[in-house]
């Protein structure tokens, strides 16, 4: 009974827990519930991915209504993988969040934080699990609305303006997706993704379909912060509470990338979309521009959190590069990078959250000498940074390697150079932090800076070690990513 309903439980569990958190009101009760739910979701995600990989795609009909009338949840290798990533990040972020939230948001408002975080988690899981285009829009808005609230909880008043800016851009993006889905519905009369794919194949030349496709892609590009639609991201990540930055940086753009993969490969005919419209060239160009521009901007930032926020824009460029390359190694690299970058950025932002807790600042000049005072925290940040650069034996190396293979297979020498050049730029912005933390003398302070509390260090190190683990044991990430890539490309041919 329970096993058959796992796809629904995956999304419904945090959805039910969210209002319960609101009713519990006590900080410890809300935190315990949220953490327990995130761990249960992780267990469900493992079971679902296992079934999707070994038995085949899972189809679940919400409320027993058969598609195309009812809403269908469909879990295959690709979204099973993304679900696993989301749940894993939530499961480590929540234990980490407790101390950080007490400090940055306060005990009285903490239960509200957990309520909204669970809603955001629900929205992201829903986008990933659903097989219905309109349902995807609804979950997109659930996750967006809750992330605006989460960002506005930051201590700095600029968190409010950052949240407002994100709200305006995010709503435009969401509405674009809505328009696009409307066009597709007008052309086909269905909203189920598989059904859409069937019917669109015959009428893919119509202008309605093309316009709808364009609207959906632009809307999702806003959500995933594809250069030059990334303007909301740096402020949002910089001024959000530390735990929120960790969660959003590791999940929300990744889910938007997933949604783009789903539309570009499953719903639309890939050969048509990429061939006739030349989407591949557009994506590669924007991705390349994003990698160069955002990496250079990251280098000149004095706020370390903002520097890594720009780095996120650059890394999204790598994922889109994988989509644009349109071959098996490239797509494998893109999907694996989605996972690996979440691990690297998660570890980095967690370490920055620890520093923000002790130092009350993440400005570069304030971090001088911090490496000797907070050795464990900085150690995790360095591992995350190495993975971000793509040093061998870290997770980031694996995905960049596959992207490189993809570029070489297409004989895109310029792109191959760009992938390496982007890594060199990453070396610079990671090195700035390492240099300040280890090589500059610590300023004289009244009290020495203490190491972060264990409750925050353990999750940080879990993610840092995951970067090392997945850098050596590639069966899981590359195995699943290549199966997902084969699925996407296979559906096309």
């Amino acid at each position: 009974m329970i096993a058959a309903n796992l796809p629904a439980l995956q999304v419904v569990l945090p959805l039910i827990a969210a209002p319960l958190c609101l009713l519990l009101r006590r900080e410890w009760a809300a935190w315990t519930l949220a953490t327990a739910v995130s761990w249960m979701c992780l267990a469900i995600a493992v079971l679902l991915l296992d079934q999707a990989l070994h038995v085949g795609p899972i189809r679940y009909f919400m409320g027993g209504w058969a598609p195309p009338w009812g809403i269908e949840y469909r879990i295959d290798a690709l979204n099973g993988f993304v679900l696993l990533l989301l749940c894993a990040i939530a499961a480590v972020t929540l234990p980490y969040a407790r101390r950080s939230v007490l400090e940055e948001i306060g005990r009285e408002r903490a239960y509200l934080f957990y309520t909204v975080l669970l809603l955001c988690f629900t929205g992201l899981l829903g986008i990933t699990a659903t097989g219905d285009a309109f349902n995807l829009f609804v979950f997109l808005e659930i996750s967006s609305l809750s992330s605006y609230i989460l960002i506005s909880m930051g201590r700095d008043r600029r968190a409010l303006t950052a949240s407002y800016q994100y709200l305006i851009m995010g709503t435009i993006g969401g509405t674009f997706v809505l328009i696009g889905v409307g066009y597709l519905y007008a052309a086909t009369g269905t909203l189920n993704m598989l059904d859409l794919a069937d019917r669109l194949a015959a009428i893919s030349d119509s202008r309605t379909v093309r316009t709808g496709y364009a609207f959906i892609l632009v809307g999702l590009s806003l959500k995933l912060a594809l250069f030059p639609l990334h303007l909301w991201l740096p402020n949002a990540y910089t001024y959000a509470p530390s735990a929120v930055t960790v969660f959003l940086a590791a999940t929300s753009t990744k889910v938007a990338v997933y949604a783009m993969l789903r539309f570009a490969f499953t719903v639309f005919d890939v050969s048509h979309a990429f061939g006739d419209i030349g989407l591949s060239r557009i994506l590669l160009l924007l991705a390349a521009a994003g990698i160069v521009f955002a990496s250079i901007t990251a280098i000149v930032q004095s706020d370390v959190k903002r520097s890594f926020a720009y780095s996120s824009v650059a890394q999204v460029g790598y994922m889109i590069l994988g989509i644009g390359l349109l071959n098996l190694p490239g797509l494998t690299g893109g999907i694996a990078h989605l996972f690996n970058h979440a691990l690297a950025k998660g570890a980095i932002f967690m370490a920055l959250g620890c520093i923000a807790l002790r130092l009350r600042s993440v400005q570069l000049q304030d971090m001088a000498g911090i490496g000797w005072q907070m050795p464990w925290t900085m150690g995790a940040l360095v591992i995350g940074g190495l993975s971000l650069i793509g040093v061998p034996l870290t997770a980031g190396f694996i995905s960049k390697w596959y992207l490189l293979l993809g570029a070489l297979e297409q004989e895109q020498w310029l792109l191959a150079l760009l992938i390496l050049g982007g890594s060199l730029l990453a070396v610079i912005y990671v090195w700035r932090v390492i240099e300040a933390a280890y090589l500059q003398p610590a300023p004289a302070r009244q009290a020495p800076v203490q190491e972060a509390p264990l409750g925050m260090l353990v999750p940080t190190w879990l993610l840092a070690l995951a970067n090392l683990y997945f850098g050596v044991h590639t069966e899981v990430t590359v195995g699943v990513a290549s199966q997902a890539a084969r699925l996407l490309l296979g559906a096309a041919s």
């Binding site: 407002y164 709200l167 435009i172």
Partner: protein, 116 residues
């Protein structure tokens, strides 16, 4: 033909007008109003999609053969709820911004925070 689809013309005009207000206005409340017009145009678009020529309301009754499609209407009910939630949240944010900055003009806010 072109006039027969006049509801779509209305949609396009509203969409562009709303979008323009969002981009061009520097008053945070006016931006929200523009966003609402923009979203409203999409609602009208969906609702006109469901209209079947000579069709009546989708309630089974004797004497009627052709009915309008109710599904887009149901979909847009959901989207309207989302729109209301977005507006409520945006207005609440603007109220907090006003508390923090004492203004809701984007230029003044930028002036107070050099980095934005």
């Amino acid at each position: 033909m072109a006039l027969g689809l006049y509801s779509y013309w209305v949609v396009i005009v509203l969409m562009m007008a709303g979008f323009y207000i969002v981009i061009a206005s520097s008053n945070l409340i006016k931006k929200i109003a523009g966003l609402n017009i923009f979203q409203g145009s999409v609602f009208i678009f969906y609702i006109s999609l469901g209209k079947v020529e000579d069709g009546t309301a989708p309630i089974l009754a004797s004497g009627y053969e052709s009915y309008s499609n109710p599904l887009p209407h149901v979909l847009i009910l959901t989207a309207i709820v989302v729109g209301v939630a977005t507006t409520a949240l945006a207005v609440a944010l603007v109220a907090r911004i006003h508390d923090a900055y004492g203004t809701i003009e984007e230029d003044d806010i930028h002036g107070q925070d050099e980095s934005l």
